[in-house]
């Protein structure tokens, strides 16, 4: 079964211990901060944790989407880096742990969770068949279960191939990807509706699932690009990967930056133009006090800056510029989610203090540790993949 000409020269190198220590340090410091935050102001902390939760979910499930797209389109340039996406997809595994504190403070996050408030609100009463705590938890449970299932399928099949070099496994994963796509679309949409849109239970927007998807995939691409380039520069991957591969990453980030802008503009424009009070209040809340500047900022943070960074052709091949852009889009997605979540907590202005800083520290530490753990026992390159050789020889 093993075709000799497909075997490539790959030596597994363990990730440096330093990375783990750094991650652990950030995690511990962040965790102490998070605990303090919960003690000082549990409502504010819950909202912050919700941002973190949806951000991590974005990266995890976005990475799975990336894997699926690679199999379905038969892309080859990304094959040498696919293991990175497989490892970052593991971030979904941490979601249940994060969900517990959020669910325990559900009453301070979600207005609809107060049954007595729903009773006096005709609109919420109509929605209560969907927006109630039991069904909310059931949906979360189903969503996570499906994500775990596909995570397991994708990674286990891919890892099996490392040893068996079996081509039929690629086909198997292609079928898994095809099934994953509709599941992904539905679960991600309801995840976005449940956790983000229902923060304002009266507000609705049919594009919201697509909006969250656009940001999520961008965030996943950001992590993927940054980690892949860093690993490759430090020799953890195989020889022969370079600017032509990077170009595709840059082009994808550039394309999805535009896609996000398109979706975000469509949502804003239609609501602004029709001017119906049951929709506009969501944007009006984001135009009060310092939120106005924060909202204008999102245009620059999430669209203009990455657009200008990646517009020139050579910029998409320059590893340094790409790494900056990748980290920037990750930050931008955090900014975006913050903009979606926090106005519900603080209507008059942007809440910003030490609390808003400890959560990112905690999250970054968590993700580094997770990455280290999940990367520890696997090859960082899918050495058994039949497309790997083609991926290495990839030219524009």
């Amino acid at each position: 079964m093993i075709q000799e000409n497909l075997v490539i020269n790959y030596q597994r190198k363990p990730l440096p211990e330093k990375l783990f220590k750094l991650g652990l340090l950030l995690l511990v410091v962040g965790f102490v901060g998070v605990v303090l935050a919960y003690i000082t102001n549990s409502a504010r902390a819950s909202f912050n944790l919700l941002v973190v939760f949806t951000w991590i979910a974005s990266i995890g499930v976005g990475s799975m989407f990336f894997i699926g797209i690679e199999y379905l389109t038969g892309a080859v340039w990304s094959v040498p880096f696919r293991r990175v996406a497989e490892i970052t997809a593991s971030f979904v595994l941490v979601l249940p742990i994060l969900a517990i504190p959020i669910l325990s403070s559900i009453h301070s996050l979600y207005h609809w969770s107060h049954t007595e408030a729903v009773q006096v609100d005709q609109i919420l009463k109509n929605k209560s068949a969907y927006l109630n705590q039991t069904f909310f938890i059931v949906r979360l449970f189903i969503t996570l279960l499906l994500w775990f299932l596909f995570y397991y399928l994708f990674t286990s099949i891919s890892r099996k191939q490392d040893k068996s070099f079996d081509q039929s496994l690629t086909k198997k994963n292609t079928i898994v990807s095809a099934v994953f796509m509709p599941v992904f679309a539905v679960t991600l949409t309801f995840f976005a509706i449940d956790w983000l849109m229902s923060l304002e239970p009266h507000w609705y927007s049919t594009i919201f699932g697509v909006y969250y998807f656009a940001g999520s995939f961008l965030a996943a691409l950001g992590v993927f690009t940054f980690v892949s380039i860093s690993l490759n520069e430090n020799g953890f991957l195989v020889d022969g990967l370079g600017s032509e591969h990077y170009y595709s990453m840059g082009a994808l980030i550039f394309a999805f930056t535009n896609f996000w802008a398109y979706i975000a503009f469509s949502q804003f424009m239609l609501i602004w133009y029709a001017n119906l009070p049951e929709e506009t209040f969501w944007f009006i809340n984001r135009g009060v006090g310092s939120w106005l500047y924060f909202s204008i900022g999102i245009i620059f943070v999430k669209f203009i800056v990455p657009y200008i960074l990646l517009l020139p052709q050579p910029a998409k091949m320059d590893p340094l510029r790409l790494k900056i852009a990748a980290l920037w889009v990750l930050f931008a997605h955090y900014y975006d989610l913050f903009w979606v979540v926090m106005p519900t907590y603080s209507k008059g202005g942007v809440p910003f203090g030490w609390m808003e800083l400890v959560f990112p520290v905690f999250t970054v530490g968590l993700l580094i540790v997770l990455f280290y753990i999940f990367a520890k026992n696997v090859n960082l390159v899918p050495i058994g993949d039949p497309k790997l050789k083609r991926g290495l020889e990839f030219h524009l």
Binding site: L72, Q167, M181, A185, S266, Q267, A274, R390
Partner: protein, 454 residues
């Protein structure tokens, strides 16, 4: 057959490794032989349809648009349905020629020229309908921001003006893109022909192209640039078409998912149309090795994906209509599914969402007859989608006393028929006057045609 694909080898775009001169021969052949009787029959049928449409239009303009079925409250009827339908058909061409180019999907080479030509013809057809819809197309000059005797400008906040800009830009840019792609092929035809008249014509239109690599260098750059601009452009065009509806406050029209939903639907129906026409073309001109079954299968996969996106949008609209708690929203959607136009709604759902699910099966994806039928159904479904959006919402507006049932008249049907006539006449004329497959692009992806660098 295909259960054991070898993933380690790049799939060939063109079957049978033809020699470069054989590609020239195969593609130039339809231009150099006399038309068969089948061709003339096809041309006869399509031009008859065109004539019927022209006569119906003539009557409409002479006697006024009272000949149509439009009523109060359904003021936007078949002309707008046709407009949205035809613009949508055009989108597949740009997707194939620009977006798949940017994603470096090499299987597009065999079909890109044809798809682009269909874009242009579809947009021409589509562009007529807003003018027809006004009932006085000769006053269309006022749609452009030109100084006039009223000192009045167009209303730039109106989506109808955005349409003017979007559709005319789309037509122009598609044409430029298509023409730039044609230049090397026209030069090839110029070098090939023995006829003096043809040589003069090809010489003029090939703009002195001489296959120089110093020119190819710029040419590839502009191709990339044009693809880069055409990609957001194609998104914007159907987005703006969706804005025509979505910026209003009518339930069923005003919903934020309209822009991406319209784009997905447009690509969906466009692919179905391209697939249908290509099946016929590859058969009669013996281009099966260039427009391969693999390519068609990939198109079917795209149709499956976009069909599901459209299905997602239907579902999302329904869910949010309920979720919003807005009685008007829920009424409109229940009325669509179970009201007086339920028949149209279920045609739409079954053609667009249910039948396309058959493409999950590889056998059907690779069966010419099956895919042709599904392609036709998709186009029927997508036409009815626009019908459902336009007519059901309007026929049940905010004032129940003005509710009315819209029925198209024979003249309406004649104009619809005429639009197909116009489109297919242009397509049929095109396939015998210009190369239907991009010769230079196909040559560039044939095995062994590229130098190996070390």
């Amino acid at each position: 057959m295909s259960s054991n694909i070898d993933y380690s080898i790049e799939p060939e775009v063109v079957e049978g490794q033809p020699k470069l001169n054989q590609i020239n021969e195969a593609i130039a052949k339809p231009l150099e032989t006399r038309p068969s009787w089948k061709y003339l029959v096809a041309l006869g049928i399509s031009s008859t349809m065109l004539l019927i449409g022209a006569v119906c239009l003539g009557f409409s303009f002479y006697y006024g648009i009272g000949l149509w079925g439009n009523n109060q409250p359904v003021g936007w009827a078949i002309p707008i349905v046709n407009f949205v339908f035809w613009v949508g058909i055009g989108h597949a061409g740009t997707l194939i020629s620009a977006i798949l180019f940017l994603f470096r999907q090499r299987w597009r080479t065999g079909i890109s020229r044809f798809a682009e030509a269909m874009t242009i013809f579809a947009v021409i057809t589509a562009g007529l309908f807003p003018l027809i819809h006004t009932g006085r197309p000769w006053l269309a000059g006022y749609l452009f921001p030109l100084p006039n005797q009223h000192r009045l400008w167009v209303n730039f906040t109106s989506p109808l003006i955005w349409d003017v800009f979007a559709v005319s830009t789309y037509l122009t840019v598609s044409f430029v893109f298509w023409y730039i792609g044609l230049i090397p092929d026209l030069a090839m035809l110029r070098d090939r022909t023995k006829s003096k008249i043809k040589k003069t014509i090809y010489s003029i239109f090939s703009l002195g192209w001489r296959h120089s690599n110093r020119h190819w260098h710029h040419y590839e750059m502009i191709y990339l640039i044009l693809a880069g601009f055409a990609t957001p452009l194609v998104l914007s065009v159907h987005t703006i078409v969706s804005f025509d509806f979505a910026v209003s406050i009518l339930p069923g029209w005003h919903t934020t998912i309209f822009p991406p939903y319209f784009v997905a639907g447009a690509v969906f129906s466009g692919f179905a149309m391209v697939q249908n026409v290509l099946i016929v073309v590859r058969k009669i001109f013996n281009l099966e090795h260039i427009i391969t079954l693999d390519t068609l299968e990939k198109m079917n996969k795209v149709m499956l994906a976009t069909g599901m996106m459209v299905g997602y949008a239907y579902g999302m609209e329904f869910f949010i209509a309920w979720y919003s708690g807005n009685p008007l929203e829920s009424f409109v959607f229940l009325n669509r599914a179970f009201g007086n136009y339920a028949w149209a709604y279920w045609i739409m759902v079954s053609c667009n969402v249910i039948f396309t699910q058959l493409f999950w099966f590889k056998k059907i994806r690779r069966n010419i007859v099956a895919m042709f039928i599904i392609g036709v159904l998709v186009n029927v479904g997508m036409w009815f989608e626009r019908f459902v959006i336009v007519v059901t919402t309007l026929s049940r507006d905010f004032l129940p006393s003005s509710w009315d049932y819209y029925k198209p008249t024979l003249v309406d049907i004649g104009i619809l028929l005429g639009s197909f006539g116009l489109f297919f006449t242009l397509v049929i004329l095109f396939i015998r006057s210009l190369p239907v497959v991009s010769i230079s692009e196909v040559k560039a992806v044939v095995k062994g045609s590229q130098p190996v660098h070390h």
